[in-house]
């Protein structure tokens, strides 16, 4: 259901595809909506192929590399609080032999941003890794540029 959100609520979204995504199990897209004159919400959405998982930002020792989001420092904006994530699926993963929080099909991470001027471009990167039940791909760092008007 989350895609509704991403489509209907976005004021503006920019899509950047790195590499030939046709062969990649995870595709990232970005968007933002203004929630007041001085605040915006930034959305980072991973669309995940069947069978593949992207992990929560909170993972115990010995688990996969957690997803992490970094924002570039800028005089134009300031991230407010932590990056929010929906409740992950938490399951005993036989491959990890521990309980792991993950997402399948899609996930949207959200970050509230305080705007210090009218038009800003929020820059940063997402680091994530993905596995299915057979293999894992190495953690990848994906940069984003999200214009907010």
């Amino acid at each position: 259901m989350r895609h509704i959100f991403s489509v209907a609520a976005f004021l503006l979204a920019a899509v950047t595809m790195t590499h030939a995504q046709i062969l990649k199990p995870v595709m990232w897209s970005y968007g933002a909506k203004k929630i007041s004159a001085t605040e915006a919400m930034v959305f980072l959405k991973a669309t995940i192929d069947d069978g593949w998982h992207v992990y929560s930002q909170h993972v115990k020792e010995g688990g996969p590399v957690p997803t992490s989001v970094k924002f570039e420092k800028s005089p134009d904006y300031l991230p407010v609080g932590k990056t929010a994530e929906p409740k992950p699926i938490v399951r005993m993963e036989p491959t990890f032999n521990m309980k792991v929080g993950f997402y399948e099909k899609s996930v949207i991470f959200q970050q509230k941003i305080k705007l210090k001027k009218g038009q800003v471009t929020v820059q940063g990167s997402v680091n994530y890794m993905t596995c299915n039940d057979k293999q894992c791909l190495p953690p990848e760092n994906v940069k984003f540029n999200i214009p907010i008007n």
Partner: protein, 378 residues
């Protein structure tokens, strides 16, 4: 919650203001597969030999299995007990070495050190273990050079020649074949090459098709752009995946450059085929000023149908969008009543704790502002 399937990846591409959508297919490492079955192995380099005895030289006729893994890789961990069995069963003929790669870089850190991980695994990792060098020699010169992206991944080596590269799940069968003497690395090599070529061809095809379309659009050469899009859709392997996106792109170009009539004459039969991009299409229509009432109502209808077909999704999102459609059409009375329904639904959902993280006070704030705006026109 199966709505994703309906939209697939398309929706992401769909939004929004055409000029901001940029597709940039990164550079493809065309020479990524420089290491193949049948090739001489690259040099073995490591940072720490954590377990077992470092290999000083390769013993003639002995099989070496280099197993690439990482602490954060569940499937690698799952393969370890069996690798331990293989190491024990064939201890006279085979040496197994786990090579720990891709642990940390400037952007990510594993949750556990390899040392601690190896201790924790104990007898479930009963073979040699070494960590990659700081500059990722093994990750780059073995794995990446062989075009291998996923782990676990095993390299089987004898007499300095790579006999096989693959998932450790297949090790047993390969060991049997290799030991039987019937193994033909040349045939396996051809198979590898074929796969690599197919992959490169697919990636090259993306560039070949999308790059000219983007250039034509930049140059505002619409005739050329549309011709290229039509051709692209005829390419079945490409069209299947990108057809919807191309049509949505075409709709935006038409609406922004050819006027409402041409755009609508295109979009209606297209949307009738249920290609996805429904809400995106509606949103593009609502954002455009000065269209006819019929067009806005067509957009409203699209959203209504989408709402019925996705009962799991929060109705206020659809209703808010529908309200913006009525507002765009100048029907502020209906816009206000629809938005009121959306706000009531959203407030209710917040009270009940439904649609958490999706429907919240932010959304109410936004709708309140829209409400003020709509009401000012009454």
């Amino acid at each position: 919650m199966n709505c994703n399937a309906k939209f697939g990846r398309g929706i992401i591409l769909a939004f929004f203001l055409g000029s901001f959508i940029s597709l940039s297919f990164g550079a493809i490492a065309a020479d990524s597969t420089i290491l193949n079955v049948g090739d001489k192995i690259p040099e073995l380099k490591y940072d720490k030999w954590l377990k077992g005895t470092p290999i000083k030289e390769y013993e003639k006729g002995r099989l070496y299995i280099f197993e690439f893994w990482a602490t954060w890789c569940g499937p690698c961990r799952q393969a370890m007990p069996h690798l331990s069995e293989v190491a024990a069963k064939y201890k006279d003929k085979i040496t197994v070495v786990g090579i720990d790669i891709w642990e940390n870089d400037e952007n990510h850190h594993a949750t556990i050190t390899p040392e601690k991980f190896v201790r924790m695994m104990g007898n479930n990792m009963a073979y040699n273990v070494a960590t990659d060098t700081k500059d990722q020699w093994m990750g780059n010169h073995w794995m990446k050079a062989a075009g291998q992206e996923g782990i676990p991944c095993s390299f089987m080596v004898r007499d300095g020649i790579i006999l096989w590269i693959g998932h450790p799940i297949n090790l047993d069968s390969v060991i049997d074949v290799v030991n039987s003497g019937k193994y033909d690395p040349v045939a396996v090599r051809e198979e590898f090459k074929k796969k690599a070529t197919e992959q490169e061809a697919q990636e090259a095809a993306m560039h070949r098709i999308m790059d000219p379309i983007d250039s034509a659009e930049k140059a505002q050469d619409w005739t050329k752009e549309f011709q290229l899009m039509d051709d692209a859709k005829k390419d079945t392997s490409f069209g299947k995946y990108w057809g919807g996106y191309l049509d949505f792109k075409k709709f935006m170009v038409l609406l922004n450059n050819f006027g409402e009539d041409k755009a609508m004459a295109f979009v209606k039969p297209w949307q009738a085929t249920k290609p996805g991009y429904t809400l995106s299409t509606a949103a593009v229509i609502f954002q455009k000023k000065g269209l006819s009432r019929d067009t806005y109502m067509y957009g409203v209808e699209l959203v209504k149908v989408a709402m019925t077909s996705q009962p799991d999704a929060p109705p206020p999102f659809f209703q808010e969008l529908i309200a913006s459609g009525y507002a765009a059409a100048g029907d502020y009375k209906t816009a206000v009543s629809t938005l009121q329904t959306a706000m009531d639904g959203a407030n209710e959902a917040i009270k009940e704790g439904k649609y958490k993280g999706m429907v919240g006070p932010d959304m109410i704030d936004k709708m309140q502002k829209e409400m003020t705006e709509y009401k000012s026109h009454l």
